[in-house]
Assembly symmetry: C2
Homo-oligomer: 205 residues x 2
Amino acid sequence: MNIPSKILENAVDALSSLPGVGKRSALRYALHLLQSTEMEVEDFIMAIGKLKTDIHYCSRCHCISDTPVCEICSNPKRQQNIICVVENIQDVMAIENTQQYHGLYHVLGGVISPIDGIGINDINIASLIERLKTEEITELILALPTTMEGDTTNFYISKQLQQFPDILVSAIARGIAIGDNLEYADEITLGRSITNRVPFNTIRG
Amino acid sequence: MNIPSKILENAVDALSSLPGVGKRSALRYALHLLQSTEMEVEDFIMAIGKLKTDIHYCSRCHCISDTPVCEICSNPKRQQNIICVVENIQDVMAIENTQQYHGLYHVLGGVISPIDGIGINDINIASLIERLKTEEITELILALPTTMEGDTTNFYISKQLQQFPDILVSAIARGIAIGDNLEYADEITLGRSITNRVPFNTIRG
């Protein structure tokens, strides 16, 4: 693709750095911005710039927040004795959308991944242990991804939890998705869903 | 979708103003930018900001350009006697990509559209007529879209061209796309491609 201007090309390069955006879409976005008014572009830039300069993270659960303590942590209606451990903010938003969970969160901000140079001190594990010491927590739900890194992190956290024998540690249920056909499920998921079968009368809709 | 921060929400709104970007993709972009370094975000913002502040248009053909006269207009190897009239910069880039055209362009920056309040003075028609008066042009190729607005613009331009009887006016060929099946072509295109059939021995590959 021949772009007749270096400035336009730079904007296309910047926009195509966004996840899943190719050169062609980036060009479409850049030309759209080029045809917008100066004020619209300024607003666009400001909204994005503020992401880095103005955004705060909750001092308790490390979720994104405009206040020092986030809305979930400071909501007295939430169950203050359950913490769900997740990898990132997207996971909090996904669980919140289900409206099935009313406890607190703890955002690790990543999972242990030696290959990417992410160790136990690069993610929010120390502050999780600190919370378990100071808050009255009765259950910890592990909702990390089922990858090698997620499993490693689960394992490390469960090791640390041995000092809190009173805290129940659970993990979110994995299995065949609601509405999925068994014949199309992958073997590992189907195998695990049989191994980890649950008593029928304990299932809640 | 519940976004836990007003600042993040503003960024998502800004990004979803891009053409074809929904809330979900915009959130993905915003979280990507949030996880980028401060310098990366600054570079991103600067590249987009420069679109409005630093970009110039060629004084001759109104195409986007970093120099007062664009690379195409100032290239002595291009045929200086043919002008191809297009709606916008994307069209110039599309034709340039074919490498089949070696003349000049004239970017109207839109087409006449009374319903959108775009009249003859809102697009670069006057400067086109001015060019025809001062430059030695022998052919004008109309490559505007086949919409009511494009046809109106074509008609208006062709009227203006009556004062230049020596200039040949042509339009890009419309017909069945190379490789397309006749049975799937729409009636108008197929009908026109029969009405406007060309002598077989004049076809160039």
